[in-house]
Amino acid sequence: MTLADVLGTAISSLGSNLLRTLLTMLGIIIGIAAVITLTAASEGAQQGVGEQISGLGSNLMFVRPGTQEEGGIQIPGQGVSLYLEDSRAIEEAGFEYVDSIAAQSTVGGPGDFISASVIYLGQNKSTVLLGTESSYQYVRDFYVARGRFLTEEDITKKALVTVLGAQVADELFGTEDPIGKSVRIFAGAGGFGFGFNFTVVGVMERRGASANTDQDDVVIVPLPSFQARIAFIRDPQGRTNINQINIKLADGDKVEQAKEDIGQLLMGLHAVEEPDFRIESQSDIFATATEVERSLQVLVVSIALISLVVGGIGIMNIMLVSVTERTREIGIRKAIGAKRMDILWQFLVEAVVVTTLGGALGVLAGVGATEIAERFEIGGETQYAITPLWILVGFIVAGVTGLIAGVYPAWRASRLDPIEALRHE
């Protein structure tokens, strides 16, 4: 028998019982579709995170307060241990590799117990209130698109001026020009809080949303104005708590040295043995994010592979039933001259054809499901990226599954005694 004959026999046999063939394929179809869709989602997320982090600006370092942990659970807002004075000290230390510094303090961010909102003409938008310095846009490489950013003068005068994120400007003003308008900014917790009127002087450029924060959903005010109005960010010693010091390095190669120097300086200031703060570079964050994404992908792929294995077991099951059901057919084929290898090949090729066909349908289903998810924005703004690699992997895995699932039933079929098989009802 030639390969074409074996294929022809397998295909005509599969075609003669379409329902059984379809049921056999179902597990593989679902498995491969799951592999394609899930990897597309995780791949897309990974690319998204990569873009976001590289969008933060190069040579960037962040100093953040150490987070107090209890039983492995991080408690937000606790253990605040970073002050505006720390930022000033780093500036005054005059490290030659530090290009510029901007301290920032936020309320209303994710997990923050204080919420912030901005009100214009009765419209109320919940947002993140960010107090910072004039160097912020340069340090974060995040510039104003219309009007102007905060100036040194705004800082020293504690001016009641604000720069709106693109999202906030869109939602509150629509097509109206926000520059020069007065908005009310409110910050508080549990119904208590403080509200003040600020004049809009600028609108930031659009940055896009990242995994958990929308950089365009922000209201930026001078840090001293923020400190002066919002009492609970000052500690009993009169120091000003801040959330983060953004440091732009002149030289990206000095990240490790900068971490060391700044760490020593701050530990001295805080009079502690162990750092009560964290220093992270952009590449650290990137590495962490990549690691998170990678483990997510491992998880996703293992789920998909498990579903493939289950599909494979389903195929083996149906093939075994099929061998029993077709015992008589095998007897007839042997009586008219089929050799063991002919029978073995027939069943093996049937299994591989079923799974490969199932793989192809699975790829189509997966691509289709991804398209649908993208079009109807299932999963919010999740980006999907279908990779040819995973399509190929899906195909190969499907074929191999068929081969493995088919070997035992095919071997059983080939070993049947022709007389016994012919007698089988």
Binding site: S12, S16, E329, I332, K334, A335, G337, I419, L422
Partner: protein
Amino acid sequence: MISLRGVTKIYTVGTQRVAALNGVDLEVQDGEFLSIMGPSGSGKSTLMNIIGCLDRQTEGDYYLDGVSVARLGDNQLAMLRNRRLGFVFQSFNLLPRMSALDQVALPLLYRGATNRKRASAAALTLVGLADRMDHKPTQLSGGQQQRVAIARALVGKPSIILADEPTGALDSKTSMDVMGVFRQLNQELGITVAFVTHEHDVAEYTRRIISILDGKIVRDEPNIPTFEREAIPVEAAALMPEEGPS
């Protein structure tokens, strides 16, 4: 040519040894038209399986066209079945959901032959099914299905066709038609045809009746086939002594 000498087949059922065949000697020349008769359990099916190279004897020798079958491996037996032998069964044993044309071409497929469709069509024409080639078994009557089975048995130009109760599932009119097809194959193509049956009507249709009982050949006699007795008046035929064992 078939030659059996002292062929014995012993089945072991649990601890008991049962002899299905017990020292069978048999010579069949090319072109014979014969039947092997016996009640169920007599060993006639075992004999047919051994002659058909589906089974092997425990003792004794079986020569098919001078070749000792006992020495052959599974693949060589499969090849013998494919090239030298044709099988026709009581229950037709056609593959479901496969057209007559493909069905009949199967033995040629396992031979790796080309031009299979043409040979298959020729065989179907020979058994009178030229207009039923695309029909599947479920679309054919019992007699037509058995004709497809016969076409499948003869398509490979075998020297021997073994038919196991070929008319067992057919009514008497259809049975006679099917027997006629076998007779035609024997007379026109010179194929050896051996029936295995317990029906007198079938046995009487052949030129040699071999009776088997308890694994032994108890009678082996020539017979005037019924189709050659037609000249004899019906009354006279009724008075003729019965031949063969009961």
